[in-house]
Subunit: 105 residues, 4 copies
Amino acid sequence: MISEQTIDVVRAFSEEREWGQFHTPENLAKSVAIEAGELLECFQWGEGDVAEAKDELADVLTYCILLAERLHLNLDDIILDKLARSAEKYPVALARGRSDKYDKL
Amino acid sequence: MISEQTIDVVRAFSEEREWGQFHTPENLAKSVAIEAGELLECFQWGEGDVAEAKDELADVLTYCILLAERLHLNLDDIILDKLARSAEKYPVALARGRSDKYDKL
Amino acid sequence: MISEQTIDVVRAFSEEREWGQFHTPENLAKSVAIEAGELLECFQWGEGDVAEAKDELADVLTYCILLAERLHLNLDDIILDKLARSAEKYPVALARGRSDKYDKL
Amino acid sequence: MISEQTIDVVRAFSEEREWGQFHTPENLAKSVAIEAGELLECFQWGEGDVAEAKDELADVLTYCILLAERLHLNLDDIILDKLARSAEKYPVALARGRSDKYDKL
């Protein structure tokens, strides 16, 4: 779970430092990608370091929260909305046990 | 907020399709990075399309949830834990209004 | 230009260290993405540090060279081949002065 | 090899479409990362599609060329310069057969 309290802590962390001025949607999207690259680095040569991965995953999530705040998006809503459409693109009967993209099912 | 119910929906979506077999931590870390690239594409030339960004952000979050599940990590915990350490690296008095990295403050 | 001599130096660098065993196409694709994230970090908050960007761009290119080697691809060929197809998707008359994706021209 | 003629073709492709106005270093760095994500997608679930990977690798390289042009960087020079420093960080005697980062050798 990511609780409202956690989101409040993320928001306050940024506000105390007056970082909102840097947090354009574009800069936050870059930040998500940069942290996702650092997360991937934990698995660069196959093996992964969970302790490091944990921190990088946290950074990805923090920037996702800030981006959602900036765009006035509700996290639950956007995840469930997208998943409902993914469920149509990947019907269980066709997609079960297969990693193919929907246009190749 | 990302509620426990939403996490349950994400988990069920994957389980119904028997996709757990593909969801190694490494593959999930790649997936987070891939979706982060698609999110970034919404802002490639500066301007951003919020409707598209919303869907890509949802995809990033969905893979983050699956990765956290796979590594037995609690989302609230890892975010708050990392933020507490970031707060030490970026003291308010030094970091206020500056986008510099901590080693340049 | 990236000369054959430079490609030889990259190849020798890897061979001397017996790193070929780690250089599966998948690991090299991850490495390109990781280094691309580090390149992007130079421009995270808009402003860019050319000296740092230079090094990160070099790392992206080095992994691209190693991936092309591994897949037996000729760099000139694949760039020109792709560009010829992009030229069809983006006819000068339609694409001039516009950053839109081809399906929106 | 990436020949001067290929670089000329890339430059002309952009100039004919008057796309230089969009090619700030920041936008090009984003573009490298976006295309690197698409390259990675070819290997998302382990297996890779070389034909698709070829095209995505070409796109990564094309944006790298445009970024180097924009920053007035010589590709051979930056690769060899970086590799010389990497050779110091990864001495053959220490790094042979190991994928560890230099600070863990």
